[in-house]
């Protein structure tokens, strides 16, 4: 057992898979010599050499295109897109190419790769370097989308993503790189498509992702301590495949559901979950499902403003308390 930061877990997760399989290669901007702009890939160049850990130019289309071509023909690339926001620069590969290759070719072509990127706000980077873009990814059939909230999940889900035969979008949260967590020794392999109940509860279910998992957990503490409300907290972890059964099972026990989302409101992943709950668990509900999201505006940079946008612990507590007491 060791205590690792989320950032260190990224390098360990990639190293675990590269050591296991020579077909796993890693490319991106500043990932090799510099060890990544978030220092999440330090040491990989030294460990695996310049043929497997390759710096690229600032060419996001070339990065994703090359990853795809390599994946189609036998490698298992991990491609880094530095800030999640930059996915928009190479969106063709996310939207048109990688997810559709297998289907369009009637199964002739596979695309086993991982695209990892740092998303999320709270670091005062402004509207183009702070977004949670999981919603940009989950709308395309053919992609898988995961986002770990803890160091151990970074390693386990990275391993699952690399070993998965489909293209996986792997969103790390920049606001979590510094957090620490216990990580067992030895190989860690998790399973895509599994949500985790992090805190059991009886009065309501809070479904969160990434940084919001931590805020939901903190909110649950306070709801219990200050208001006697027992909130179950679920880390959804994998948006595609989605572990609907765990979510519905929880709602069947607590009868109330809240999503805690960092993304702007419209078409957020929580809307899909709420829609599923409404369709399939309507009669389990004692009250309306509630989405706690960022308002539908771009993210501002200044402390005060950004803090007003991203759901805070206070906001989660207040929303849940009011909703349950009304």
């Amino acid at each position: 057992m060791a205590e690792l930061t989320y950032r260190e877990a990224v390098a360990r997760g990639i190293a675990q898979e590269m050591a296991r399989d020579e077909d796993v290669v890693f490319l991106g901007e500043d990932i090799a010599k510099a060890g990544g702009v978030f220092k999440a890939t330090l040491g990989l160049l030294d460990q695996f050499g310049p043929l497997r850990v390759r710096d690229t130019p600032i060419s996001e289309q070339a990065i994703l295109g090359a990853a795809m071509g390599a994946a189609m023909t036998g490698l298992k690339p991990i491609a880094e897109i530095m800030f999640a926001d930059f996915l928009a620069v190479c969106y063709d590969y996310v939207a048109n190419e990688m997810p559709k290759a297998r289907y369009m070719t009637n199964g002739q072509v596979g695309c086993p790769l991982v695209i990892r990127f740092g998303g999320g706000g709270g670091l005062r980077f402004g509207a183009q370097h702070s977004q949670c873009v999981e919603n940009w990814c989950m709308q395309f059939p053919g992609l898988k989308v995961v986002s770990p909230s803890s160091p151990v999940d970074v390693i386990g889900l990275m391993a699952a993503a690399v070993r998965d035969p489909d293209p996986v979008m792997f969103m790390e949260h920049k606001g979590l790189y510094a957090i620490k967590g216990e990580v067992p020794d030895g190989e860690i392999v998790d399973t895509l498509g599994t949500a985790k109940i992090l805190r059991p509860g009886t009065d309501c279910t809070l479904i969160a992702l990434g940084l919001m998992v931590h805020r939901a957990l903190a909110a649950a503490e306070r709801l219990a301590a200050e208001f006697g409300i027992s909130a179950e907290v679920i880390d959804v972890r994998s948006l595609v495949p989605l572990d609907t059964q765990t979510l519905l099972g929880s709602v069947a026990r607590t009868h109330r559901v809240f999503t805690v989302e960092e993304n702007p409101r419209v078409l957020g992943w929580g809307a899909e979950i709420v829609s599923i709950v409404a369709d399939e668990a309507f009669y389990d509900l004692d009250g309306p499902p509630v989405r706690i999201t960022a308002p539908h505006i771009p993210l501002p940079a200044a402390d005060l403003l950004e803090d007003m946008v991203i759901p805070s612990v206070d906001r989660v507590v207040e929303t849940v308390r009011k909703s349950l007491s009304s």
Partner: protein, 345 residues
Amino acid sequence: MARKPARAPGAAVALKANDDIGEAKRLEMYRLQVTIRQAEQRANDLFFENLIKGTSHLSIGQEAIAAGVAAAMKPGDLSFCTYRGHAHTLARGVPVEKVLGELMGRDNGLMRGKGGSMHLTSVEHGVMGSYAIIGAHLPIACGAAWRSQYKQAGDVTVCFFGDGTTNIGAFHEALNFAAIWKLPVVFVCENNLYMEYTPISEVTSVEHPAADRASANGLERIVIDGNDADVVFRTMSKAFEKARAGDGPSLIEALTYRHSGHSRADPAKYRPEGELERWKEKDPLLIYRERLRQFGVAEAQMQAIDAEVAKIVDDATAACKAAPTTSADILFTDVYADGGWAWRN
């Protein structure tokens, strides 16, 4: 067809002495060009019979490039094509029936109707896909070449694209990327003078949209006659040699002309009067028949090839018309690698 036809007398003997290509390779390239021409014409006819829906982009007039490139490729080399990709797919040996079947949405199609005209793919023939978003496949071809380099597999990747592609970002990203990583990839620009409906010269800062950008990436400037399969073959052979030697990518601009419009919907009225006629005088099949004559191939032998191909195309057409339409059973298959489409439990 086994009987050797009588040879034309005269100059052919002298020419043959210096022939680097040889009769067998020339006949192969002739057959490929005839196959493409006849299959494309058939695709056009089937459109007018309403047996092919959607859109379709023909390569009539551009056959020499697909044929010359394919003839210079080895088994295991990979092709990345565009939405105008019937020619390059056929040139790698994919049966006409599979291509027409896909265009017609039949169950015997290359992808059983899931891809359509713009996405022809046959991995077993090294055809790694036809890409319908302009420029998208240049970086993808880099990735395939990277795999070859990394695995020391020895194969080379060819990436076809049109002149219009040279003005999109992915083109420039891919060239730089391939050059700095010295990837075994050959970029083949088919400059048919029009980006869709607009003359490429009106929207491009340089005379040769691909070749004049080569130096920006440290590559040689190569412009060739894309209507002469021999020229294409020779140029490609050199580029393949370079790639296999580990000396990196090449960018080749092949000048050509499409006899039809951009797509099925385009009557090509934007072309100046007489332009099509002038290019028809440089029809790759006319050029190649003359070349074969010069090298002593008898008219009868060419006609025999024409007739063989015609029969193949007719048989393929009949087979496609008789084939069942694509099956509803495959609607939900192969979204994910487990064969299905489940995105949730």
